[in-house]
C-alpha cells in the first residue's frame, strides 16, 4: 500500500514545482495559441503490450485532464510499446486492490498502468499511479503527485517516462519540450515569425519571441533554461539569448556580416557561432561571461553550423572547403580538422546524439535532402527519411527519436523519426509554416 517514494525525490519535487509554476506565469499564453497536432505516419506492430486504464476521478463532474490518454499516446508514439485498446479491457481498476492479473494476461498485456485523480486543498489535485508486471504479478512503480491543474499534463508525461524507464531500462523523453519557429502571413508582403516552446507532444505552446523578420536556429542550453537564436529584426542576422526563467533577453553577437548558427557548449558558458566579421563565415567560440571571442577556423570557404560533442572536446561543423558542403570535426580549441562525411554531394547541419557516438545530419543525394545518421566510429551513413526537403534534425535527449523539419503539400511541418527509422510522426499547425525544431535537453531542474 505504501508508495515508492524517496525523501530526495519529495524535497526535490517541491522546488521543481515551484519553478514550473514560475514558468507557467511567465508564459501565460494568449488563449487561442495554435497547437501542433501529431499524426503517426509510420508505426510498428511490435513492442511491449501494455494496458493503460483510464484513471479514476474522485471529484465532481468531469476530470480536469485525461491523464491515461496522454500516457497512452506518449507510449504509443515511442514505437516501443503496443498500447492495448480499451474495448478489450475486462475491468477498469483504479486501485491496486482491484487488479485481477488473470484478466490482463488474457488480453496478452505484459504491463498494466492504473491510477486516480483526487481533488486536494487549494485547487490542487492528487494524482496516484501504479505500474504492474502482469506476469510476475508485482508492482514496478507507484508514485503520488500533488499539483495544480496546469501541471497535470506534465505529470502525465512524467508517468509515461517512469513507465518507459521501468520497462525498457532507458530514460524516457516525454517530459521534455521542443522549440520551433512558426511563420504566418500577416499581409500580402508581411509575415509574423514566432519562436515557440511547447511540450514534447505539441501541447502548451508558449510564444517566447515574436518578430516581423525571420527567426531561426534556436538552440537550447543544456540546463533547458536558455535558448540562443538568430533574429533578422534589425534587417540583418544577430544572435540573441532568451532566458526562459526570468524572461531576460541578451544581444550576444552583432558583428559586421553574418552572426549565426549558435551552439551551446555543454557547460553552458560558451557559444560556438558562425561569424563573417573577417570577410567569410568562420567558426568562433564566445565566452558569455568574459566576452572573449576566439576564432577556430581559418579557411576561405564557408564554415558554419558548429555543434559540440557532449563531452565538450570536439566541434562538428559544415564546410564547403572541398567544393561541396561536407561535415568536419575539430577539437574545441580549433586543432586537427578532420573530414567526417564522404558519401553524397551535400552533408550539413550535424548535431550529436546524447551518447556522442552518432551524428544526425542533412544528407543529399541528387538534390533530395534527407535526414540521416552517421556513426563516428565506422563512418556508416544511414538515411532515415524518404522526403526531399528535410532539415534541422536534433535528437531527443534519450537518443531514441530525431525531430526535424520537412514540407508536406507545400507547407512547413515538423516530423520525427525513431533513430532506427521504424516509427515516424508529423507535427502540423492548422495554419502557417512550422520549422527549425530543437528538442530540449532533459529538464533536470524543473522536472525529473
Amino acid at each position: 500500500m505504501t508508495m515508492k517514494q524517496t525523501g530526495e525525490n519529495r524535497s526535490g519535487r517541491n522546488r521543481r514545482w515551484f519553478a514550473a509554476a514560475w514558468l507557467c506565469l511567465l508564459f501565460a499564453a494568449p488563449p487561442a495559441q495554435a497547437i501542433l497536432t501529431i499524426e503517426i505516419t509510420q508505426g510498428v506492430d511490435t513492442g511491449i503490450p501494455i494496458a493503460v486504464v483510464p484513471f479514476g476521478w474522485n471529484g465532481p463532474g468531469q476530470p480536469p485532464q485525461a491523464i491515461a490518454d496522454i500516457v497512452d499516446a506518449d507510449l504509443r508514439r515511442s514505437g516501443l510499446f503496443l498500447t492495448l485498446p480499451r474495448t478489450d479491457f475486462v475491468s477498469s481498476p483504479t486501485d491496486d486492490r482491484d487488479v485481477v492479473y488473470k484478466e490482463w494476461r488474457v488480453i496478452k498485456a505484459e504491463a498494466l498502468v492504473i491510477g486516480s485523480v483526487t481533488p486536494a486543498a487549494n485547487g490542487r489535485y492528487e494524482v496516484q499511479f501504479r505500474l504492474f508486471d502482469v506476469f510476475k504479478q508485482v508492482q514496478l512503480a507507484g508514485l503520488r503527485y500533488t499539483v495544480n491543474a496546469q501541471t497535470l499534463r506534465t505529470v502525465a508525461h512524467q508517468i509515461a517516462d517512469v513507465v518507459y524507464e521501468k520497462l525498457t531500462g532507458e530514460p524516457g523523453a516525454f517530459n521534455t519540450r521542443i522549440a520551433y519557429i512558426t511563420r504566418e502571413n500577416a499581409g500580402p508582403n508581411s509575415a509574423t515569425y514566432k519562436l515557440q516552446v511547447s511540450d514534447s507532444d505539441g501541447y502548451n505552446p508558449r510564444t517566447v519571441v515574436r518578430a516581423t523578420e525571420p527567426l531561426l536556429s534556436p538552440a537550447w542550453s543544456l540546463d533547458g533554461r536558455r535558448i540562443a537564436y538568430v533574429s533578422f529584426e534589425d534587417k540583418r542576422p544577430k544572435v540573441y539569448v532568451q532566458n526562459l526563467v526570468d524572461g531576460r533577453r541578451d544581444l550576444i553577437a552583432e558583428f559586421k556580416g553574418i552572426n549565426g548558427a549558435p551552439a551551446w557548449s555543454p557547460d553552458g558558458k560558451r557559444l560556438a557561432l558562425a561569424l563573417s566579421r573577417d570577410g567569410n563565415p568562420e567558426i568562433y567560440v564566445l565566452d558569455l561571461a568574459t566576452k572573449d571571442l576566439k576564432r577556430l577556423t581559418n579557411d576561405p570557404a564557408i564554415d558554419t553550423e558548429p555543434a559540440w560533442s557532449p563531452d565538450g572536446r570536439y566541434l562538428i561543423f559544415t564546410s564547403d572547403r572541398a567544393g561541396r558542403p561536407q561535415l568536419y570535426r575539430m577539437t574545441a580549441e580549433g586543432g586537427q580538422v578532420e573530414r567526417i562525411t564522404f558519401e553524397g554531394d551535400y552533408n550539413a547541419r550535424a548535431s550529436y546524439a546524447p551518447d556522442g557516438r552518432t551524428l544526425t545530419l542533412v544528407s543529399s543525394v541528387q538534390g533530395r535532402f534527407r535526414i540521416a545518421t552517421i556513426r563516428l566510429d565506422t563512418g556508416a551513413l544511414q538515411v532515415l527519411t524518404d522526403t526531399s526537403l528535410d532539415e534541422s534534425p536534433s535528437f531527443a535527449p534519450n537518443g531514441r527519436m530525431i525531430l526535424y523539419a520537412t514540407e508536406v503539400q507545400g507547407r512547413g511541418v515538423l516530423a520525427s523519426v525513431s533513430a532506427d527509422g521504424r516509427v515516424r510522426q508529423l507535427y502540423r499547425l492548422e495554419e502557417g509554416d512550422v520549422r527549425e525544431p530543437a528538442w530540449s535537453p532533459y529538464n533536470r531542474e524543473l522536472h525529473y
Binding site: P214, L216, S217, F232, K235, R236, P237, G257, I258, G260, A261, A274, S276, N280, P281, I302, T304, E305, T318, D320, R324, P325, Y346, A348, R349, V362, S364, G367, F369, L389, E391, S392, E407, G410, E436
Partner: protein, 174 residues
C-alpha cells in the same frame, strides 16, 4: 530628394549630349522604360521597387539592364553568368556616374539545403555582386550587403522554376 532630382536633370542632359555625340542621331531619350520591363527566362520577376530619378544612366542599353534589380544564380553557386554580369556592370556604371547613389545588396537562396549554410551562400552571392561593382570603381562605402539565406523567397513554390527565382541578389538603391 530635391537635390537628387536636380542632379538627375544634369545627368540626363549630360547623357543626352553624350549619346548624341556617340551616335550623332539620337532621338530616343536615354530613360528607362517603366511600362515594359524586359523579361527573359532567367529574369522571371521584375523588381517590385520602381526606379528613382537619380538612377538614369548613360546609354539606353544600360537603362534596360538597370531596370533589372535582380541577378540570378545556379544551385549552390555564387558565380555570375554573362547575362547577369552585364546587369551588375550596368548598375556599377550607374553608381559610378551618380556619386550620390548607394546600393544595398541582398543575397538569397532557394529552400534546398540547410538554413545557416544558405545564409553563408547568400552572403557569398551578395559579395560576388559587390566585388564586380568594386572592380568597376564603385567605392566600398557606397555598397552594403546582407544575406537572408532561404528566409525571403519571392516565389512560394517548391519546384525548379520557383527555386530559380529565389536564388538571387536584390540590387536595392538607397
Amino acid at each position: 530628394m530635391q537635390t537628387k532630382l536636380g542632379l538627375a536633370v544634369v545627368v540626363v542632359a549630360g547623357s543626352l549630349w553624350l549619346a548624341g555625340c556617340a551616335t550623332g542621331t539620337s532621338t530616343t531619350p536615354p530613360v528607362e522604360d517603366k511600362t515594359t520591363p524586359s523579361q527573359t527566362p532567367t529574369q522571371p520577376l521584375p523588381s517590385p521597387s520602381g526606379p528613382k530619378a537619380g538612377e538614369l544612366s548613360g546609354t539606353p542599353a544600360d537603362a534596360a539592364l538597370i531596370a533589372k534589380r535582380r541577378v540570378y544564380f545556379a544551385f549552390d553557386s555564387s558565380q555570375l553568368d554573362d547575362e547577369n554580369r552585364k546587369i551588375v556592370e550596368a548598375h556599377a556604371r550607374n553608381l559610378s556616374s551618380n556619386p550620390n547613389l548607394k546600393v544595398h545588396l541582398e543575397g538569397n537562396c532557394d529552400e534546398r539545403g540547410t538554413r545557416e549554410y544558405n545564409i553563408a551562400l547568400g552572403e557569398r552571392r551578395a559579395q560576388t555582386v559587390e566585388r564586380a561593382m568594386r572592380v568597376l570603381g564603385v567605392p566600398a562605402n557606397r555598397i552594403t550587403t546582407v544575406s537572408y539565406g532561404e528566409e525571403k523567397p519571392v516565389a512560394p513554390g517548391h519546384d525548379e522554376s520557383a527555386w530559380a527565382q529565389n536564388r538571387r541578389v536584390e540590387i536595392l538603391y538607397r
